[in-house]
């Protein structure tokens, strides 16, 4: 359960204050599949970063499972990101020096799982995303679709209840994009909460509900 209450975010560009969110409130119950739509600059990524605990709002509160994240320190916030949230980025954002298996293991390393457990779970996850045979490849040796599937496996590593996707298909061809979305939806059917930022109306249409943003506010 994610709840945002009157979120505001103001970026300072030198002397000028640029409001990115102007008071956004929303509830996302467990197991929901939400698309956040809007043109670039509408604040949809900013909203995702706030409720995904990657950034702190200027004012307002984000509750994750009834915990007020504005009261948490950096370490506690990191724990939330590690255990409750899986993040998928448009640019995949894998660590280039690590192979697929190690990339998937990384969140478990920060979690403190044993090496044996990590390797086993990472192999399992790579099998689930269909990349068991690519475990030892570095990101540069994988296609875009493959990299994104590694990123999904990584997001699932600590078995978080919520997956955030910031334009997860934005850098993929249509075919790979469809594969990724199918896979994410399968996760949602198993009970995973799915929150996707997109400006692709086709993807937005597949979600249970769609939130539209414009100039830092929600459009009903």
């Amino acid at each position: 359960m994610i709840r945002a209450v009157n979120l505001k975010k103001i970026y300072k560009m030198g002397e000028i204050e640029v409001p990115a969110l102007r008071g956004v409130s929303l509830d996302i119950p467990d197991g929901d599949y939400v698309a956040i739509e809007g043109p670039s600059g509408s604040g949809k990524s900013t909203l995702l970063n706030m409720i995904g605990c990657l950034d702190r709002p200027t004012s307002g509160n984000v509750f994750i499972d009834d915990v007020d994240t504005s009261k948490l320190n950096d370490t506690e916030l990191a724990k939330i990101r590690r255990e409750k949230i899986g993040f998928i980025f448009q640019m995949f954002n894998l660590i280039p020096t690590l192979n697929a298996l190690e990339n998937v293991s990384l969140p478990m390393m920060f979690y403190g799982s044993s090496r044996g457990k990590r390797a086993k779970r990472a192999e399992e996850l790579l099998k689930i995303v269909g990349l068991a045979d690519r475990a030892n490849h570095k990101p540069s040796e994988l296609s875009g679709g493959e990299q994104q599937r590694v990123a999904i496996a990584r997001a699932l590593a600590n078995d978080p209840p919520v997956i955030f996707g910031d334009e997860p298909t934005g850098n993929l061809d249509t075919e790979s994009g469809k594969g990724i979305m199918n896979f994410l939806e399968k996760l949602n059917k198993k009970g995973e909460t799915l929150i996707i930022v997109t400006h692709d109306p086709e993807i937005a249409a597949r979600a249970h509900r769609s939130i539209r943003m414009r100039d830092g506010t929600l459009k009903a």
Binding site: L54, D55, R81, R82, G112, A155
Partner: protein, 398 residues
């Protein structure tokens, strides 16, 4: 997590092989400088102390207040009576007087002033035998009142024609026969040997026209009582001359102590100089780590986004800095040992006296600890900077 950070750090270092190597070299040079300077310093101290311990049964006695011509002062010197009195002190085996002076020396119509050194012939031989071999001939005997032994420079540099044994010299008007010519001495003893003519005490008294004794060497039977005997000698001489501190008796142990202090200062200065190299190396680490943080801002953001805490990130960067400096430290130890060994071989050869490179485990361990400490401290600022970045800013970067 620690083992994992080792692995990740290793990957990152390998990814930037050349730069990591240069950074590591900076630390290595610093550590090598420290190790080799300390090793050479210890070696020097060791060989000089060894030399002095070899003479531990000797106390040297000099008038404590030096006579400054024209400034008043004490014109008294050690006398025959002093020698007799010292000989009576329990534990004293033998007292050897030493005289120094300058005399006009004439050889085949050519004249030049030369320093005369004179003492008991046995003492002369013992004092100098280790430093130089004979080119020809021998040391003067006690009965050689008309014989002299001459240094290398006197024989070959002071006069147009070389001097050999059985050649005749006129020293302050007295005729002498050369009984021995020394070879060139090593650097340590060269000033004591090469430019001098050695005479018996009796001959020196005649030639120099004085009975003034410059210094005494007192041989004792019991080394453990050296300090007590030294004090007794001082008291006896002070009484004889009716002065508070006329004489100064110097035992080898007090000399070794004094030299120890000098070496401590020397070591401190050397280490200070070497530290500069280390500081430069640590600036190198900091610079390299800062660059690494900048380059990996994006990566740090990703790690934080997927749940890394600030301390996770700090650990990663500190491990990397620590690893570079540890390897640098080890390399530095090896380089330092090689340098010290080469220097000691070179110096031993040059001064003609064995001077080992002394590298103790403490110095090794100490240097390695310093290397790691320097690395970690230099890595701390970049690591904290990395950790403090907001994940979303960092992810967006690059």
């Amino acid at each position: 997590m620690f083992y994992d950070s080792l692995l990740l750090a290793y990957r990152n270092i390998r990814e930037r092989k050349f730069r990591s190597f240069l950074t590591l070299l900076g630390i290595a040079v610093g550590i090598a400088a420290i190790i080799s300077l300390i090793a050479v310093g210890y070696g020097m101290q060791y060989s000089i102390t060894e030399e002095l311990i070899g003479m531990a049964d000797i106390i040297s006695v000099m008038p404590g207040r030096q006579i400054i011509p024209g400034m008043g002062g004490y014109a008294e010197t050690i006398t025959e009576r002093d020698i007799e009195d010292i000989e009576r002190i329990a534990g004293v085996e033998d007292v050897g007087p030493w005289m120094y002076g300058t005399a006009q020396v004439e050889y085949r119509k050519e004249r030049t002033p030369v320093t005369i050194i004179s003492g008991d012939t046995q003492d002369l031989e013992e004092m100098y035998a280790t430093y130089a071999e004979f080119e020809d001939g021998r040391w003067i005997y006690e009965g050689d009142h008309r014989g002299c032994t001459i240094g290398y420079s006197v024989a070959h540099e002071y006069f147009d024609e070389d001097i050999g044994i059985n050649d005749r010299l006129i020293i302050n008007g007295e005729k002498f026969v050369v009984v021995g010519v020394l070879e060139k001495a090593g650097m340590m003893a060269s000033a004591d040997l090469d430019p001098n003519i050695f005479l018996t005490i009796r001959a020196a008294q005649e030639v120099l026209g004085t009975k003034d004794i410059y210094m005494l060497t007192v041989r004792i039977s019991d080394i453990d009582r050296a300090d007590d005997i030294g004090e007794e000698i001082e008291e006896t001489l002070d009484q004889n001359h009716n002065m508070d501190d006329f004489a100064q008796a110097m035992t080898m142990s007090s000399m070794i102590e004094q030299i120890g202090t000098v070496f401590l200062i020397l070591q401190a200065v050397l280490v200070g100089i070497a530290s500069i190299a280390l500081i430069v190396g640590s600036i190198g680490i900091m610079n390299s780590m800062l660059m690494s943080v900048m380059e990996r801002t994006h990566e740090i953001g990703i790690m934080k986004a997927i749940g890394a805490t600030n301390s996770n990130i700090i650990l990663l960067f500190l491990t990397e800095a620590g690893m570079i400096s540890l390897v640098g430290g080890i390399l530095g130890c090896i380089l330092g040992t090689i340098t010290a060994t080469l220097v000691s071989i070179g110096v031993s050869f040059y001064i003609g006296m064995e001077m080992p490179a002394i590298i103790t485990p403490e110095v090794m361990i100490g240097s390695l600890s310093v290397a790691i400490l320097v690395g970690v401290i230099s890595g701390l600022y970049p690591a904290r900077r990395a950790a403090k970045m907001s994940p979303v800013e960092a992810v967006r970067y690059g």
